[in-house]
Chain length 399, copies 2
């Protein structure tokens, strides 16, 4: 009733990441793409700006006319027109002439600089210029921002709110994003009977959504081989997670179902929590087996499932914030397992202290909601003595 | 055509944050609350676990019976039953007796410890115990995880995926979250005529969504006082952002509309980009004025609007990652403005170098999409020489 052998964490991750898995992707409106991950480079379709534009409200002129200008001795020019944003000016600016422009206005032919409005004074058709400007000063030159073909967002990068103006300004209407469906199936007769609540499935949906994936919960199914298999066959998902039934005992059926209908990549990992994590394949589709206990499910998602998905689709690895501090007590690893120890942090005498939390089973939710981070102790490490300086991974308001 | 005076950034932020603004909040299903911000503390309705449960698959017994147990000299006990998860066991365990339990099973009366399945062997009605256990070993004791009234998520905290199991396990069905509506109105005849694209409004919607807020785009409206005012009166939003028309010139109408129908809190801020940022109030509703240029709009949102909203609703301040490095060139602040300078970072000879980007107008989108962060130069600072060590705020895959 035990695992014959456990796969070291690093090897499990390598086996998972090394699979060649095809995800789903689609083209969606660029304006609604924030938070999703690009499935191919998004490039600027043309130079931006397409034409020279004024970067300020002011007076477009030939810079040579401004060279002697000062507040005590202004240069006066003839105002021959005004160029509003979106206009296509038909006049051109000669020496001694100028035009009123606004931020974003096209620069009329002939003009090669703009004096800011606060450095000029307009009285009817006469503009007094108080300040000299250099060639092209206050002009956003065509193509200076982006050249046609320049990359706005790379494949695998997450689209952030500030990418959206770049899409819209350069005329990118649709972007190609990963939209694989993560299907979640929960096994356990106690879930079907309602004596135990399924708290892991909605957490997994939220985790998937933070990764820009679609997710569908396919329900709770009793610990019965035929029922589980027919549910798996029903699932249209690109990636499947099965919670519960992932252990090594005869009542844990998921391993056998996968073995009989596909193949096991690994099952049982030298990690704690998350020891019963496994991965198999049926009909080319990856099926993760994880514990139904929420803490074990969370650790398995963050440390096996998410890195594997990121690797399959060429998504960048997650940026994790780390912090250093000193252990309040010794912490041992006598099990030759990779330990994910939840910790609290506090400052004492100007030192950052790291306090490993005492927990029993991996279902202990308080250890997650009140932890500030976790300390990873590698398989081959015996742990750390009290006072040792360690680096922990911060948990926080950072997705 | 210039601002009479500009409000220092710190004062503008203080004026904005100090307002007393009422937001909208609602109760939503706990399972769907990830990413939103709590409007009140969420507490555990009762002790969790409610009863003593096994933390492992194993044998429930009286720990006293295990004291002499070893693999070479096992203790044998009579198996009097099995307790499945969700069962309500009717028997009790006396000395010499035991029961099979699973992770999450209630501990039958009389038992006070659990031996893990791998440390026992069952043959029919006889269990051989190979290992001694301490009192309450492998038992999750009632209330050990959370006591009734313990806080799961504090008011103002963002709900993360791992809070959801805590809600579900303790029976929290609904949570009270902030769901204010941010209404966005874009002014500019050039937008209405379609000669300029509105790239800021969809970015603002994405930024609002990352804050857990609802957002509605109320469209583009021409630079016409009556039209803008009637749109404002139509908006059902709790917070309004008006893009464009925020400047000091006579063509910039938003300031006057607010002054005539409400009051101005501040208008014009010593910051760059974002100088035309302002805030007013009509009928108790806050109305932010910001530039329609995307970079200025972004800087105004991140540095004025978002901190103000967080302060109004008691949401924690944003966790910003910072990094230190050395400037590749000098950067001056001769305008007595708070400067937000976009920078790139790279390593050279093991040193982190910070390279300020050269930009013209605040509409320059490349400076945002390819920046790694920004350097804030305070109003009263003259800037930094080449090689100076500075701390920058990282932009990245962190919401």
């Amino acid at each position: 009733m035990e695992f014959k052998s456990l796969t070291p964490y690093g090897e499990a991750l390598k086996l998972a990441s090394g699979l060649s898995i095809h995800g789903r992707s689609e083209y969606i409106p660029a304006a609604e793409s924030s938070g999703l991950y690009c499935a191919e480079d998004v490039t600027s379709p043309h130079d931006f700006p397409e034409i020279d534009r004024s970067a300020v409200d002011g007076i477009a002129l030939r810079f040579e006319d401004s060279l002697s200008a000062s507040r005590s001795n202004p240069v006066t020019l003839t105002v021959i027109g005004q160029v509003r944003i979106g206009d296509d000016p038909e006049f051109s600016i000669d020496r001694g002439e100028c035009a009123v422009v606004f931020t974003g206005s096209p620069i009329p032919t002939g003009a090669n600089a703009v004096v800011m409005m606060e450095d000029a004074f307009i009285d009817g058709k006469i503009a007094s210029i108080y300040k000299q400007v250099k060639k092209f000063q206050n002009i956003s030159r065509s193509g200076e921002d982006l050249r046609a073909g320049d990359i706005i967002v790379r494949s695998g990068q997450r689209i952030m709110p500030w990418h959206i103006p770049a899409f819209i300004e350069t005329g990118v209407e649709k972007v190609h994003v990963f939209r694989s469906e993560l299907g979640i199936l929960s096994t356990g007769t106690e879930l079907v009977e309602g004596v135990v609540k399924n708290s892991s499935a909605p957490m997994l949906k939220a985790l998937a959504s933070n990764l820009g994936l679609r997710s569908v919960f396919y329900g709770n199914v009793a610990d019965e081989k035929g029922e589980i298999l027919s549910k798996i066959n029903e699932m249209k998902s690109d990636i499947i997670i099965i919670t519960g039934g992932s252990g090594p005992s005869s009542q844990d059926l998921v391993h056998d179902i996968i073995e009989e209908n596909g193949k096991i990549v690994f099952h049982g990992v030298r990690m704690k929590p998350g020891r019963t994590t496994g991965l198999g394949i049926i009909n080319g589709k990856p099926i993760f087996m994880i514990s139904g206990l929420p803490v074990a499910a969370l650790i398995a998602f963050e440390n096996i499932i998410e890195p594997a998905i990121r690797s399959w689709f060429g998504m960048g690895s997650k940026v994790r914030r780390t912090k250093k501090g000193f252990l309040t007590r010794s912490i041992f690893n006598n099990e030759n397992m990779r330990m994910f120890v939840r910790v609290r942090m506090f400052e004492e005498d100007g030192k950052m202290m790291i306090d490993p939390m005492r927990t029993t089973g991996s279902g202990v939710i308080n250890s997650v909601i009140s932890a500030d981070g976790y300390l990873v102790i590698e398989e081959n490490s015996e742990g750390y003595p009290e006072g040792a300086e360690v680096e922990i991974i911060e948990i926080g308001d950072c997705l």
